[in-house]
């Protein structure tokens, strides 16, 4: 009776041993979770956030820098004997707020009791100083030091862009897998475009700690630690004084100023009005400020120099002229009668040559010029002929950088529109069209759309007599001190450089004796420019436009000014352009009354006063 029982017991013993060994095998060898959990128990991974690259202007003045910021993380499994009352006292919050914070933390996607999770973010140095001494009493709470952006000036906000925490969608889209939740990322402007150069490399420190969370040392004596590498510093081509002056002049107005150095394509100033203070979009008030700014009906976040698409108006006539010369349908001496029955015109002139037509901005002249260009009689059918002409015209105009994105180093650049035959086919639903349908193109109205940066680039092209460098904000990256390679290449237009001289002559005349003489002429320097007045919907005023470059010989600055709802180009835009030129070349203006005129923003009634002034100036007393 007892025999089997001994064996049974022996079997039980052996079986138990086997069960244990199998279970142990699973825990120790097969399942790797425990090894990881052991590491996360004993090893604390402290990321060391890199310092973001600095941004300066062309003269070395600091624009964007970094300021310290602290973040409180919680490792829930290390939290012991949590004294709620004390915590609330130290951190100056109510128990309700504290509970809310814990709830928020646990609701985060990445929350785990075994890993540090963000508890309180964006504590300034003063906030942190208050609580620093008490942190020992709250095991499980860790502090992470990092930096956030700060700005020396509210200027240049749109182009600089802002930095904020990476969004979930951005994280999902990040193929490089470099980013983690909580990282700061450039969201717009230069911060976004040069994110890769600015961000630096995260370092990491591995620390050993015991069950109480007290750091006991470094793993492997620090052998596995890596230092963070700061981001590359950027030097922008911006002249901060000029930029600030431009923003000052644009106060209370909507529109844009773009200034470029023609010999390099470096952007000297990029003004978008209205704008906002970039310091508002950093720190703890970021979300409430962002909401406020983005809902402002004047759209301060809309970066006009790159994103606004306007009709060019009369400044387009310069491009028309050069295209027509290149096509051979006119020459500089071609005279055309100013027939105001065809199309409206203004000013005292009747039969100008090309330069005169530009100087006076004669509409009928260019109406005729465009017709000659589009209907060159290459085929008999006028529709087909127009198509051919338009295609050629489109090619030339687009070679100036219109109708497509230039590739500026800022995001959200728009391309504008230069119509092509295909475009009109679509617009007219494949019904036939010819010159008489589209003649507004001649004077820069109609379907043409240009972006202010394209206009400034055009001025730079004329200044360079036939080529341009793609406009760019950043002129030097890191130690190399070079811009990105694509900005070091010359882009030539399809127009001979001889014709550019004609254009420059004409533009000089505009300022000396033409529509620009009242407010754009300067004593000490030859300014070349062109006014434009773009039709707007009544009762709003027309848009005021001006492009210019100076000095004529060895040009230093080319710019475009576009002021919405401000009347004739000769008024607001011309004034601003010439003031900017004075500021850049001489450091200040010699014509404070013009400055005052601009700041007043009243562009209708002051006309008489100014005209009185110019009548006092007699011809011959003009100085170069």
């Amino acid at each position: 009776m007892n025999e089997g029982r001994k064996e049974l017991f022996q079997l039980l013993i052996i079986l138990t041993g086997i069960v244990f060994l199998v279970k142990l095998f699973f825990i120790q060898v097969v399942d790797s979770r425990y090894a990881e959990m052991a590491d996360s128990n004993a090893i604390l991974r402290q990321p060391e956030y890199p310092v973001r690259g600095l941004i300066t202007d062309r003269n070395g003045k600091l624009i964007v820098y970094n300021t310290p910021e602290f973040r409180l993380d919680v490792l829930l499994k290390d939290v012991r004997n949590f004294d709620t009352v004390k915590f609330c006292t130290v951190f100056e919050m109510s128990r309700k707020e504290l509970r809310k914070k814990f709830r928020e933390m646990k609701a985060r996607r990445e929350f785990s009791p075994y890993k540090p999770t963000v508890f309180m973010d964006q504590l300034s140095s003063t906030d942190f100083a208050k609580v620093q001494d008490y942190l020992d009493e709250f095991p499980g709470f860790y502090v992470l030091a990092r930096t956030t952006r700060a700005y020396t000036t509210p200027a240049f906000a749109n182009a600089l862009g802002y930095v904020s925490e990476i969004s979930k969608r951005q994280l999902d889209d990040d193929e490089s897998r470099i980013y983690k939740q909580g990282d700061y990322v450039g969201q717009s402007g230069i911060e976004a475009f040069y994110e890769e150069q600015l961000r630096g490399t995260r370092g990491i420190r591995f620390k050993l700690r015991n069950v109480k969370g007290i750091i006991k040392g470094s793993v492997g004596g620090g052998a596995y630690d890596t230092l963070s590498i700061p981001g590359l510093d950027l030097v922008t081509g911006i002249d901060l004084d000029l930029q600030q002056y431009g923003e000052f002049l644009m106060k209370g107005k909507a529109g844009s100023i773009v200034a470029i150095e023609p010999s390099t394509g470096e952007i000297l100033a990029l003004v978008s009005g209205p704008s906002y203070d970039p310091n508002l979009l950093t720190g703890r008030l970021y979300s409430s400020n962002f909401r406020q700014i983005s809902s402002d009906t004047n759209k301060p976040l809309f970066n006009r120099p790159l994103m606004a698409q306007y009709r060019p108006g009369s400044i387009f006539k310069i491009a028309q002229a050069m295209t027509a010369l290149q096509e051979g349908v006119i020459n500089p001496d071609t005279r055309i009668r100013c027939d105001r029955t065809i199309i409206n015109c203004h000013g005292a002139h009747s039969n100008e040559d090309l330069r005169g037509a530009i100087e006076n901005s004669c509409n009928p002249y260019f109406h005729n010029v465009l017709r000659r260009m589009l209907n060159q009689g290459k085929v008999n059918d006028p529709y087909e002929d127009t198509r051919i002409g338009l295609a050629e015209w489109n090619k030339h105009i687009m070679s100036f950088g219109f109708g497509r994105t230039l590739g500026v180093d800022l995001p959200n650049e728009k391309s504008g529109l230069i119509p092509s035959p295909a475009y009109y086919d679509g617009a007219y639903h494949n019904r036939p069209w010819k010159f008489s349908n589209i003649y507004s193109l001649a004077i820069g109205e109609g379907e043409n759309l240009v972006v202010p940066i394209q206009m400034a680039n055009f001025a730079a092209t004329v200044a360079n007599k036939g080529y341009y460098f793609i406009p760019h904000v950043v002129k030097a990256i890191g130690a190399d001190q070079q811009p990105l390679p694509e900005y070091r290449v010359r882009h030539y237009t399809s127009i001979d450089s001889a014709y550019f001289r004609v254009a420059a002559d004409a533009m000089q005349q505009v300022v000396e004796s033409g529509t620009g003489q009242y407010r754009a002429k300067l004593q000490d320097v030859i300014v070349c420019g062109k006014t434009g007045t773009v039709e707007n919907n009544p009762p709003l005023f027309d848009h005021s436009v001006f492009i210019a470059f100076a000095p004529r010989k060895d040009p230093q600055i080319a710019l475009s000014v576009y002021v919405e709802d401000a009347g004739q180009g000769a008024r607001a835009a011309a004034s601003i352009a010439s003031l900017m030129i004075e500021k850049y070349l001489f450091g200040k203006t010699k014509r404070p009354y013009i400055e005052q005129y601009v700041l007043n923003g009243n562009f209708e009634d002051v006309k008489k006063t100014v005209e009185v002034k110019t009548e006092e100036e007699k011809p011959g007393e003009e100085r170069r």
Binding site: F9, I14, T16, L21, F25, M37
Partner: protein, 424 residues
């Protein structure tokens, strides 16, 4: 005929070597738990557990000597006396004992003292052995069975009064001895079924599934068996009884067990449910063991051990150190040593011609087996956490001495197996 009792020649050296290996390994592990690399004490430092354990080991040597020298008939003669003495001490403990770690199991003067419950284990083994080995004992006699249960029941109750549930449970292991000596399997099966139902009730939260399953089985059995009324009635009664047990299990768990005990069981069922609360011990234990991999992190290199992540690591969870520092291979060696020891003890037991010695051997084996199975089972999450030491590994004088005495009395008896009077 008087046989020359040459003590050293007849002692079972296999067992002694196994004992020695386990004690030394245990000692080294205790050192590893207390080791702080910043301080770097040697293993002999008295302020560390390992130093003190060495003292305990030293004392064990003296105890072994005493046991071996003492005449072997002493144990048989004084079995009941020893048992009685210890029961009296156990009674006194709740009154004069000190509260340590949730239970009042320790008595002493100053820092000298011990846990009588550890000594009660071998005393009970002796008493049972003597009783079963006594003339006229019959396992199928109801009165004898009752006395047997009383013999293990008394220390159980007394230790429960000390609030040391874990140690009290140890005494249930003597059921194995009873079984070996002929007790009907019916009780064992009932016991096992009871435990199975208990576990099932815990695992399957919805009672109705269980009740439904029982009913289904009942119907099947009725349908496919002989359709005799008596049988059907018995089956139905049995089913009813089981369902009653299920209900009462639920009652026991929610209303009788204390919260921390409930939690221990909950932690067993689903250890990941509250890893920071009641699941903490087991989770940390598994993390420590699991991180050891195949060959461990190396002696004194265990991060979980060094940084005190596993609670009670010197005592209940001592096995974690082996798991973490010596890996699966280390675990294999320790488990192997224990299994070998257990099988050896059974072998010794079977070669006894004397019933007292044989029953005692089985007592020794079942006590060791219970500790081994439950302690390691705790650390890997196969058994609820009840505070039971791992023999020779867990730090502590009382448990070391208790097990040493337990084992060496057997060796002494075994050494004289040739000359003990035969008894039926």
């Amino acid at each position: 005929m008087k046989r020359e009792d040459s003590i050293s020649e007849n002692l079972d050296w296999t067992t002694i070597s196994l004992y020695g290996a386990l004690v030394i390994l245990g000692w080294l592990n205790i050192y590893a738990v207390g080791y702080d690399e910043n301080v770097g004490h040697s293993i002999f430092t008295l302020s560390l557990n390992s130093g003190r354990q060495l003292l305990f080991i030293g004392a064990s040597m003296i105890i072994i000597l005493a046991i071996v020298v003492l005449d072997m008939r002493f144990y048989d003669a004084f079995a009941y006396v020893i048992y009685g003495l210890l029961m009296v001490i156990l009674v006194a403990v709740p009154f004069i004992g000190k509260e340590v770690g949730g239970n009042k199991a320790w008595i002493g003067i100053g820092s000298f003292g011990g846990q009588p419950s550890e000594l009660a284990k071998f005393a009970t083994a002796l008493a049972i052995a003597k009783f079963v080995g006594s003339v006229g004992f019959r396992m199928d006699n109801f009165r004898n069975q009752a006395i047997l249960f009383a013999l293990i029941g008394l220390p159980m109750v007394l230790i429960l009064l000390q609030k040391d549930t874990g140690t009290a449970l140890v005494f249930a292991c003597f059921m194995v001895v009873f079984f070996r000596e002929g007790m009907s399997p019916f009780l064992m099966i009932v016991g096992i079924c009871g435990v199975a139902i208990f576990i099932l009730t815990l695992l399957i939260p919805n009672q109705w599934y269980l009740h439904g399953a029982i009913l289904a089985i009942l119907l099947l059995l009725i349908g496919f068996g002989k359709k005799k009324l008596k049988r059907i009635v018995l089956l139905t009664l049995g089913a009813g009884l089981i369902m009653g047990v299920i209900e009462s299990v639920d009652y026991v768990i929610t209303d009788v067990l204390k919260p921390h005990q409930q939690n221990r069981i909950k932690a067993l069922i689903n250890p990941d449910a509250d890893p920071l609360g009641y699941g903490w011990n087991v989770t940390q234990s598994k993390i420590a063991i699991g991180s050891g991999g195949l060959s461990g992190k190396g002696f004194l290199q265990g991060t979980q051990t060094k940084f005190d992540f596993v609670p009670e690591q010197s005592t209940d969870f001592i096995f974690c150190t082996i798991g973490e520092e010596e890996g699966w291979l280390g675990s294999l060696i320790v488990v192997g040593l224990f299994v070998t020891l257990l099988l050896r003890i059974i072998y010794i037991g079977e070669r006894q011609k004397n019933r007292f010695a044989r029953v005692y051997a089985y007592g020794v084996a079942s006590i060791f087996f219970f500790h081994f199975a439950v302690n390691i089972g705790m650390t890997v999450g196969l058994f609820p956490v009840i505070g039971i030491p791992l023999p020779f590994f867990s730090y502590g004088g009382s448990s070391l001495w208790g097990f040493t005495v337990l084992l060496f009395i057997l060796l002494k008896l075994d050494a004289h197996r040739g000359s003990l009077l035969q008894r039926l």
